[in-house]
């Protein structure tokens, strides 16, 4: 199990957990990062941050610090 920011572009993984109970982690959950959901890492911005992912059919940009809260399992 690794965190979302460690995936390489194009890689798909399954969300295991979102750590924390603060506003940011709640926002991630509302936007679809919930256990069992498939997430694909699409690309990172030209300067390396933020990252662009596909979750529940929508494209979401998030910074590396936020992505580190999402624990994923690569099948």
């Amino acid at each position: 199990m690794i965190t979302l920011d460690r995936l390489v572009p194009g890689q798909v993984a399954q969300v295991v957990q979102v750590s924390g109970a603060d506003g940011i982690s709640m926002r991630l959950r509302e936007m679809g990062f919930v256990p069992g959901e498939m997430v694909s890492f699409l690309r990172s911005a030209p300067l390396g941050d933020p990252l662009k992912c596909l979750i529940q059919g929508s494209r979401v940009a998030l910074r590396g610090t936020e992505a580190r809260r999402v624990i994923v399992a690569v099948s």
């Binding site: 926002r27 936007m31 911005a45 030209p46 300067l47 494209r59 998030l62 936020e66």
Partner: protein
């Protein structure tokens, strides 16, 4: 019989086409206002079709009803009916994106818990169809237990069905509200504890909430949020209003629930998504739907390391090029109209205080406001196009990293960039930033970007005092370099200010950037037009009234208390002098008129003030005339040119390319014969204007956008101090070189 007005609240996730729908349903007949103490805008449209008129209350787009800021709490309170003096809405209209059905149901699950009539507008049904998604709308409606109306807001499809459904719902629910059992997606255990907490809180009794002596029956939904959102806004609100005893009740309930159900944040999400899965049962056909290929293809190009950044730069250049290029004609037209109107009034009214008030005060003041309108309209046109097409989120994505070095986020980029045209639309554009600390930092820094009103000041002084030499083999002119350094001064100070703010008074956890990148679409021209119209209207009405008053005040200070009899005599003589009077004689009169005007200004309140502050501006290398110019330009920076013009006996009508003013500045002498202006003085004035807050409009828009006088006052004090110090350092170093 006149029916009472029904109220419908409009909610939905961002990027669901909510504003398109709001615009389609209510058109331009929109009232705006503010909720007390917060910055969210109260936007109310009207649906006049039904027997009982319906008010549509637009709430900010949100992914959930879990308030994390005072603004979000107010939005929830509007829905639950906890806003003082406002009944809960008669119905809630929730817009959901048909292509992202499951995620949108998260918000729906919270809305249904409120136990108010809900109608779902299933928007973008056309996009879902073209993606091969087959949605069984009837089944969805049955599973949800509420009406679902498929619509395509941009194509105006399904809107009359939606209005019919709204009318039926508000009219049928007037008798029996809260009669049905609410949807309860969370475990029963949770609701049992929540109701117990509600009862315990209401026993807290005499705490004097909003003038009442007993605990008000706050909605059960807010109690639910207080339990679920650890450190959230509802908890803070409870603490403020009811003290530690309320928090103790909440904490006990949380401990109990965590023990039986697990981590509360996980529990909520899991159950809401499980509920969503149940609702989706049998709703979607076999096809999972194709992803939006155009969006992915465009993203590969537009967020590409090389091409993406080039496109971004080209886009920004285009926007500013258009602001400069297109606004010239309407701005000139406004200037011409202003002059024409002034001449017209002058022809009707003989010289005197009334004419001066109308021409110099009213027409000059209002014109000074309206002249910014083309820039605002053009900028908001581009903002709306970029946002509605989906590109704005990509721009934020591209520059977020760079902006984060200064403690800001990608969302601050465009407001700041806009401020180079004019800080007013820039401050207004900061609305797109959800995080209030980032938003306030952006608003505070925006006026440091050199706006187009500073350009005339720079041009005048550079033309007059910077030698027309070229450097590096004739490729670079010194004037261009000086001009560029004035822009750089503002940028550098702005960056340092933003960084300092985020380290001090706006310190806090780094605002997260978790941002949806919506699918690209053709911007809806109606949405674009409505945004432009609203931005212009807000600017003209709210800021305009106060700028108008400020202009009249400055006029009065420049006009009073002198005896203007001789000045008016001369004006009358000059105007009534036909061809019969020889030109040599009229020239004598106009020279005397200029001297007289200058004398009157020197003796006016403004002139006296100029002399009074002369000791303070002497270290900057300025004489009283420049001091007066700086004070008189409080309503707007470019006023200094007209003021200097008047002071130098030229009358008020000098613009920056007028050789007369440039010569007058060059010839200007101190009493001992030394020239007033030299390069250090010119630079000191320019630095002052680069950093000062001499723009009433910006300060008033800041007041409106932050809903508080604190920010504009702080901005004025800070910028004026910096401007003074900057000018002082520039002059003192300049004369020693």
């Amino acid at each position: 019989m006149v029916q009472p007005t029904r109220r419908v609240a409009l909610v939905g996730n961002p990027n669901t086409g909510k504003s398109t729908l709001f615009g389609a349903l209510s058109g331009l007949a929109v009232r705006t206002g503010n909720y007390a103490g917060v910055t969210i805008e109260k936007k109310i449209g009207r649906l006049g079709r039904a027997q009982s008129p319906i008010e549509l209350i637009d709430l900010p787009g949100t992914y959930s009803l879990s308030p994390r800021s005072p603004d979000e709490l107010v939005a929830v309170e509007v829905l639950t009916g906890d806003v003082a003096g406002e009944p809960p809405p008669d119905a809630i209209l929730c817009v959901i994106n048909a292509t992202l059905l499951r995620r949108n149901l998260f918000l729906v699950s919270q809305l249904l818990e409120l136990n108010r009539p809900v109608i779902i507008a299933l928007n973008m049904i056309d996009a879902a169809r073209s993606r091969g998604l087959k949605i069984d709308v009837a089944r969805l409606s049955t599973n949800l237990g509420v009406r679902v109306v498929p619509i395509a807001a941009t194509k105006r499809e399904g809107l009359s069905e939606l209005v019919d459904a709204l009318v039926q719902t508000v009219e049928s629910t007037t008798a029996a509200k809260e009669s049905t059992t609410p949807v309860q997606p969370l475990p029963n255990e949770f609701y049992r504890v929540r109701d117990r907490v509600s009862a315990e809180l209401s026993r807290l009794g005499d705490v004097g909430y909003r003038g009442q002596t007993t605990f008000p029956p706050i909605s059960r939904y807010l109690v639910e949020r207080a339990i679920l959102d650890i450190g959230g806004e509802t908890e803070k609100w409870l603490l403020r209003n009811f003290g530690q005893s309320a928090i103790a009740i909440i904490t006990t309930a949380r401990d109990e629930l965590t023990l039986s159900l697990g981590e509360l944040s996980d529990v909520e999400c899991q159950h809401r998504y499980a509920w969503a899965a149940q609702v989706m049962d049998g709703v979607l056909g076999d096809s999972p739907g194709k992803p939006h290929a155009v969006t992915d293809w465009l993203d590969t190009i537009l967020t590409n390391r090389v091409f993406g950044l080039l496109f971004f730069a080209a886009m920004m250049f285009l926007v500013f090029q258009c602001i400069y290029a297109w606004s010239g004609i309407p701005m000139d037209a406004i200037g011409t109209a202003q002059a024409w109107l002034g001449d017209g009034v002058s022809a009707l009214i003989s010289p005197g205080v009334l004419r001066s008030l109308i021409v110099d005060g009213v027409i000059g003041g209002v014109g000074g406001v309206l002249v910014f309108l083309p820039q605002i309209a053009i900028l908001f046109f581009f903002l709306a196009v970029l946002e509605d097409s989906g590109y704005m989120a990509r721009a934020a994505f591209l520059v977020d990293r760079v902006m984060s070095w200064f403690g800001l986020s990608g969302k601050s980029f465009l407001p700041l960039m806009s401020s180079f045209a004019c800080a007013i639309p820039g401050v207004m554009a900061a609305r797109v930033i959800e995080n209030n600390r980032d938003r306030f930092a952006t608003i505070f820094v925006a006026p440091f970007m050199s706006c187009s009103a500073r350009l005339p000041v720079y041009l005048l002084l550079i033309t007059a005092f910077v030698p027309a030499t070229t450097l590096w083999g004739g490729w670079v002119s010194l004037s261009g370099l000086v001009l560029m350094s004035m822009y750089l001064v503002g940028i550098v100070v702005g960056i340092v200010t933003a960084w300092t703010l985020k380290k001090t008074i706006l310190r806090g956890e780094t605002a997260p950037l978790v941002m949806e990148l919506p699918e690209y679409q053709w911007p809806d021209y109606r949405v674009v037009m409505i945004r432009v119209y609203e931005a212009c209207k807000a600017f003209v009405i709210r800021a305009g009234t106060l700028i108008f008053s400020a202009s009249i005040l400055i006029w009065a200070a420049g006009y009073l208390p002198g005896d203007h009899t001789r000045q008016h005599e001369l004006q009358t003589q000059l105007e009534s002098a036909g061809d019969a009077v020889p030109a040599s004689e009229t020239a004598v009169w106009s020279r005397e008129l200029k001297t007289e005007s200058a004398r009157l200004l020197e003796q006016s309140l403004l002139g006296q003030l100029g002399h009074a502050i002369e000791p303070a501006v002497r270290p900057l290398g300025w004489d009283w005339r420049i001091g007066v110019g700086a004070i008189a330009s409080f309503p707007a920076r470019e006023v200094i040119i007209a003021t200097l013009g008047t002071v130098y006996s030229l009358g008020g009508d000098v613009d920056e390319t007028d050789e007369g003013l440039i010569d007058a500045l060059r010839r200007s002498r101190w009493p001992d014969g030394r020239p007033v202006y030299n390069v250090p003085v010119a630079l000191s004035i320019m630095v002052f204007f680069a950093l000062c807050a001499q723009c009433v409009s910006t300060l008033l828009v800041m007041r409106r956008e932050t809903n508080s006088w604190v920010w504009p006052l702080m901005s004025f004090t800070y910028m004026t101090t910096l401007a003074y110090l900057g000018a002082l350092v520039t002059y003192q170093i300049g004369i020693r070189l």
